[in-house]
């Protein structure tokens, strides 16, 4: 336990000085603040359809304009950004938790289970995630944010399984693990007390990657019209904008802000994942 604390402190010390980490966290914090501070200034009930005049360009009254359904777009952004984040984090956490478990067991125990888990992981990795999501989401008619997160989580565990397994394969041959085994420690204690703390940085990098992937998948479903119909999310806003031809009607204020916020979100998560990667693979560190 003591070494875990020391490792955590070392990680924080390194990441605190990593410019990618700082920039990524700063953007993420900014996006989180939209959802926290925004409702204090804007009535987010106006994110519902038919609450304001339609098709208004940005003005002093409507900062980001309004859409053809009569939604205040600033309110849509304020209400939608946290929903998108929530969906991504929920799917990412569930997917990564499952993936880390599978990776730990598969890598440590080896044998038949390992072969089966690895074969399934490799096979699933080559399947276009959208194809499966489509079939599921179009059969389950009314989806909400939580359900979408669950569906997406079912396809977000493979990457974590793969990288954790590879790491465990190397760790389990190390002297201290052999020592623990010889001293009669049970397999579960070895996995969780001796091996797991050493894969935490990689698990974190996987978590950030899985969250980013989940938001990407969610956005894919949303822009195809399979997202939550009654919750304003960033992806659904883009879907409505495209459905009502906001592009050719010159209504840039409709699709522009959600696209920019989504792009910033992906950039922030990428920067954080990349900083965690630098920490987990010191060989990359010296180069950048």
């Amino acid at each position: 336990m003591h070494s875990l604390l020391r490792n955590t402190r070392a990680a924080l010390a390194y990441l605190g000085t990593n410019p990618k980490m700082i920039a990524g966290l700063a953007i993420l914090l900014l996006l989180l603040l939209i959802g926290v501070i925004g409702p204090l200034f804007v009535d987010i009930r106006t994110a519902e359809p038919i609450s304001v005049r339609t098709n208004q360009p940005p003005s002093a009254e409507h900062w980001l304009g309004t859409d053809s359904g009569g939604r205040e777009l600033l309110a849509v952004i304020i209400a939608g950004t946290p929903q998108t984040l929530r969906m991504g984090v929920l799917a990412g956490v569930i997917g990564t938790a499952v993936g880390v478990m599978l990776g730990l067991f598969s890598g440590y125990f080896g044998g038949w289970w390992d072969r089966i888990i690895s074969a399934v992981t490799d096979t699933m990795l080559t399947i276009p995630p959208l194809a499966i999501l489509l079939v599921v989401a179009s059969s389950v008619r009314a989806v909400n944010v939580e359900m979408m997160a669950l569906i997406i989580a079912a396809l977000s565990w493979m990457h974590a399984t793969r990288v954790i397994r590879a790491q465990v394969l190397a760790l389990r041959e190390l002297g201290y693990v052999q020592m623990a085994r010889l001293s009669g420690l049970g397999s579960f204690s070895i996995i969780f007390r001796e091996i797991f703390p050493n894969v935490i940085p990689i698990a974190f990098a996987s978590l950030v990657g899985a969250t980013s992937g989940a938001i990407l998948s969610g956005m894919g479903l949303e822009v195809l019209g399979l997202g939550p119909q009654n919750t304003p999310t960033l992806g659904m806003t883009v879907y409505w904008a495209l459905l009502y031809a906001a592009f050719s009607r010159g209504m840039w204020w409709w699709w522009g802000p959600p696209v920019i916020i989504l792009a910033l979100l992906f950039i922030a998560l990428f920067l954080i994942a990349s900083a965690l990667d630098d920490f987990a693979n010191p060989r990359l560190r010296s180069q950048s």
Binding site: T126, I132, L134, S139, V223, V238, L242, F247, S274
Partner: protein, 330 residues
């Protein structure tokens, strides 16, 4: 290449096809309500104006034999799927799902393969140069841009490209794949096709470039520490030869493995790019199928997407030993 290797890859291909078919079979049955009722409801909701409604329902009943035991139904479904009989499309009636998809598939395959090859090749080259100590400084300045680009998904990039290069400047068409449907291959026709494909392809290339460059940079850094590079230098080989034949050739191996894994995501992404540009591939077909709740077509597109990617991965895996002779000896 050993037969064991070929057999394992083939088995993996069929496992993917089996998984896709099984999901297509199970998921609609887990959803609440009778599948036939769902189709009838859709037809009714459109005021029964669908031509051949009875045909579709008959087709459906015969296809699922809804009174048979589950296992028999599953076997029949599997058999039908494997001979690519995926039922009839509701929105493209009287076309079958398979013929609607086969008409759209060439557009997708052409767009996706050309742009993926460009992104992969160019990205790998840039990535190799990023890690190479002797490359010009301008190349190193590219790194942050590539990172940002690799983070933004295909679809968002497509929207931004569409706005900047088609709507704002008017340089490129807003969408579609041709001005007049091509009925032959002449120079003007090819030019028109390329003109329309440029923006969708550009979105896919831009979004993929950073990913491949960063991957290659990582692989190259590992290779640069190897002894055989020092030996090559000591032998007095030209820098150019060392870069391409010694460093890049070896660093490419993990890239090709990554290509097999990234293809699925790339295919998902390009489906959405097609939607943004109204490009008449399977992404656009899918969008129409979703808007008219054409379940068979939705499942059909998903099925084809999976087998196309699985097939490409199979080909890549079988070609891999040619790139890495070490596998032959195993």
């Amino acid at each position: 290449m050993t037969w064991g290797y070929v057999f394992r890859r083939l088995a993996m291909f069929f496992a993917v096809v089996l998984a896709a078919t099984t999901i297509n079979f199970i998921v609609p049955r887990l959803a609440p309500g009778d599948p036939t009722a769902a189709v009838l409801e859709q037809l009714l909701s459109r005021g029964q104006q669908v031509e051949g409604a009875q045909d579709i329902v008959d087709n459906y009943r015969a296809r699922f034999g809804l009174d048979d035991p589950m296992l028999v139904q599953y076997g029949r479904y599997l058999f039908n799927s494997l001979r690519l009989d995926l039922g009839s499309s509701i929105s493209y009636f009287p076309q079958s799902v398979t013929s609607a998809i086969l008409a759209a598939l060439p557009w997708t395959i052409a767009l996706l393969s050309v742009s993926t090859v460009i992104a992969f090749g160019l990205g790998s080259l840039i990535g190799a140069l990023l890690a190479w100590p002797g490359s010009p400084r301008a190349v190193h300045r590219l790194a942050p841009f590539l990172m940002v680009l690799s983070a933004i998904p295909y679809y968002l990039l497509a929207l931004i490209v569409l706005y900047l290069l088609a709507i704002w400047t008017g340089w490129f068409p807003l969408g579609g794949a041709y001005s007049v449907f091509p009925n032959g291959f002449s120079l003007p026709v090819l030019w028109d096709l390329a003109y329309h494909a440029f923006l969708p392809a550009l979105s896919i290339v831009l979004a993929g470039l950073g990913f491949w460059a960063l991957g290659m940079r990582g692989a190259m850094i590992n290779v640069l520490g190897e002894d055989y590079l020092a030996l090559a230098e000591a032998k007095g080989l030209t820098k150019r030869r060392i870069f391409f034949k010694y460093a890049m050739r070896n660093a490419m191996l993990p890239q090709v493995t990554a290509l097999a894994i990234a293809l699925g995501t790339a295919a998902s992404g390009s489906v959405l790019v097609e939607v943004a540009f109204n490009y008449p591939g399977i992404g656009y077909l899918l969008y129409n199928a979703l808007r008219s709740s054409d379940y068979f077509l939705i499942q059909g597109v998903a099925f084809f997407l999976v087998i196309t990617v699985a097939f490409a991965v199979l080909v890549l895996d079988l070609l891999y030993p040619l790139l890495d002779p070490r596998i032959q000896r195993l």
